[in-house]
């Protein structure tokens, strides 16, 4: 499904070179739920951006769905993002001037679906996240948890094979975080491959697999998993 080999990502400014990822290797299979953990600045968001085709990497090989994506044009990567990938952000990233319905509609319009199809999809995903009655609300009129549900609905409306989430519960209290996690688990059970960045070990343990990043590298993930298992008991 997703295969990264020896990916390096170097950010260059006039004065500094930051090696955000070094010789990064990771394979994620179809239907997996992977939690990415690691200290701040270790390269988690960088990895997620590259995985989601938001950024180009410096060197290495990345195959998504068996296809090398490094040589795709900007328009082609936009289409892959639109069709195959759903994004959930820490800050929700809803468009403040659009109501719930129009927010979920955004990727569907880029997809080129007709009005009836879009409406049906929007209603289905809003129903799924429990916000069917809030279609006309503006983001500012919703709680953080509700906003994140709208964002998840938006990510899922196009039925992507892949859901990428960067700290999706980072701005939520623990109760809301738990319910969002349950939603994400449910989506995973529906067959969607999920990669989620989090710094909360409890939430990470709800994923099928944990990958720990340190200094832009995957540290021994098996060891991590074993440690976690030991900790859980």
């Amino acid at each position: 499904m997703l295969s990264m080999q020896n990916i390096s990502m170097v950010y260059r400014t006039d004065t500094v070179e930051t090696h955000a990822l070094r010789q990064f290797n990771l394979d994620v299979g179809e239907g997996e739920f992977v939690a990415i953990t690691g200290p701040s600045g270790s390269g988690k968001t960088t990895f997620l951006n590259i995985a989601g085709l938001l950024e180009k990497f410096t060197s290495g090989r990345y195959e998504l769905d068996g296809k090398d994506v490094s040589s795709l044009s900007d328009a082609a990567t936009s289409r892959v993002r639109n069709e195959k990938i759903g994004f959930v952000f820490q800050g929700f990233n809803l468009i403040p001037d659009l109501n719930v319905f129009d927010n979920v509609d955004v990727p569907l319009r880029y997809r080129g679906f007709n009005g009836a199809e879009r409406k049906q999809r929007i209603e289905r995903v809003l129903d799924m996240v429990g916000l069917a009655s809030r279609q006309k609300h503006l983001p500012a009129q919703l709680s953080g948890g509700q906003q994140q549900r709208v964002a998840i609905a938006r990510a899922l409306a196009g039925e992507p094979r892949f859901l990428l989430a960067d700290e999706p519960t980072g701005n939520l209290d623990s109760q809301m975080a738990m319910s969002i996690m349950e939603l994400i688990q449910e989506i995973n059970r529906g067959g969607t491959t999920i990669i989620m960045v989090t710094h909360d070990p409890t939430l990470a343990n709800l994923a099928g697999r944990n990958v720990h990043i340190r200094d832009g590298r995957v540290s021994d993930s098996d060891a991590d998993t074993q440690l976690a298992e030991v900790a859980v008991g």
Binding site: T45, V106, Y110
Partner: protein
């Protein structure tokens, strides 16, 4: 394009959009009405005077002592001028088309003190007028040499014949009846009869702002007013060469007068319309300035809206928008704003025009100017927003995860 959500988002941030739309509307109203004024003036300037302007020049001769015999001088001068190589023809007259100064009288078709005559510009000419001015006789006959009389400065009587322009004939005898004017009697000074012997196509009066500028009569007289004006028509290309020669010849041939006021018809036209020409320039400058200010306003609003929405743009890119989608968003948004502006502008334009027609007695604007101006302003808007839209389209998708 997806106008629906763009419109709904726009309506959540109305203030800037409404201000720009108003600016577009006001610009359009002023622009169209200014263009309408320019059109009127330009049309007036483009009216032909009816004479061979490029080759005609004129000069004045003024006697200054008792030894000056004007009658002899005029006859000698005309003979000498007409004999000069390069001169097509010449005559003596009282006034020059478009020069600003001349005679006017009233003509009427019936005698009587209580009738209002039709105002007409008067030129005293001789039988050389057709050739000298290059006039076109369209009906009847022109003056013959024996028709020409002398007119004293104190005279208040008129010869028995005249040649008038088509415009004057139309005013006297009716739009479609002007040809019937040949042979008819008209009355000058209320009761004095003159026969219309011929009709010329066109010859403008001295005053370009007069609504009867093409109503002209030619009177077969040479004048003894103490000051003569000679109209000289040069062969093509020889005018500038001839002018100093003519001045020199007249100055040398008779020491009892002075010659002055040597001027071309082209310069006379230029002076006559100088006010209109600067008015046109001023209005065009105003239009340009308004368009520029409007364009800058659009650039400003769009730039502000792009930077305010940087994160939103990144999010849209992450959700699958291409660069073209992003640029299209801002172009469409501008189309909506400018569209509101030009719709409002159309109403404002018509209102302003109605008021101006009323208040300043201007011509009503031509209707096609409204859709044309709407189109121009929409294009200006799209051009102005192009830069900000391009900047928006280059916001990287990673902005979605990198900014808080």
């Amino acid at each position: 394009m997806q106008f629906g959500p763009i419109w709904r988002a726009l309506m959540r941030n109305k203030t800037g959009a409404i201000l720009i739309a108003l600016q577009v509307a006001v610009t359009m109203a002023i622009m169209v009405n200014a263009i309408s004024i320019i059109q009127t003036r330009a049309e007036a300037m483009a009216r032909p005077s009816g004479i061979d302007e490029p080759n005609i020049f004129y000069i004045s001769s003024i006697g200054f002592n008792d030894a000056f015999n004007e009658r002899v001088a005029v006859e000698e001068d005309l003979a000498a001028l007409r004999a000069m190589p390069g001169v097509v023809d010449a005559l003596q007259t009282n006034s020059v088309p478009l020069s600003g100064g001349g005679w006017s009288m009233g003509l009427q078709t019936e005698p009587g003190d209580d009738m209002d005559g039709v105002g007409v510009a008067v030129y005293f000419v001789d039988d050389h007028a057709l050739d000298t001015y290059d006039l076109e006789l369209v009906a009847g006959e022109f003056f013959s040499p024996t028709d020409i009389e002398w007119r004293e400065g104190s005279s208040s009587t008129w010869p028995d014949r005249t040649v008038i322009t088509v415009a004057m004939a139309e005013a006297l005898f009716g739009e479609d009846e002007w040809r019937s004017g040949v042979g008819k009697t008209v009355y000058i000074n209320n009761n004095e009869p003159m026969t219309v012997t011929g009709i010329i196509d066109r010859m403008q009066a001295a005053w370009n702002g007069w609504d009867g500028v093409e109503r002209t009569m030619l009177v077969p007289q040479r004048t003894l007013f103490g000051s003569s004006r000679y109209i000289i028509r040069a062969e093509p290309g020889l005018r500038d060469e001839l002018m100093p020669q003519v001045e020199e010849m007249l100055a040398q041939s008779n020491k009892d007068r002075i010659v002055r006021g040597l001027r071309t018809m082209e310069e006379t036209r230029e002076r006559s319309y100088r006010g209109d020409a600067s008015m046109i320039k001023l209005l065009m400058f105003t239009i340009g300035l308004l368009l520029l200010i409007t364009a800058l306003g659009i650039v400003g609003l769009a730039s502000f809206s792009v930077s305010r929405r940087t994160k939103q743009i990144g999010t849209r890119r992450a959700l699958g928008a291409t660069r073209a989608d992003i640029a299209g968003y801002f172009m469409s948004e501008n189309l909506l704003i400018s569209g509101m502006g030009v719709l409002l502008g159309a109403a404002l334009t018509v209102g302003l025009n109605m008021w101006m027609v009323d208040a300043f007695d201007l011509d009503r604007m031509e209707v096609w100017l409204v859709p044309a101006a709407m189109g121009v302003l929409l294009v200006v808007g799209q051009l102005a927003v192009f830069g900000p839209a391009r900047r928006a389209s280059s916001v990287p998708p990673a902005v979605a995860t990198r900014t808080v």
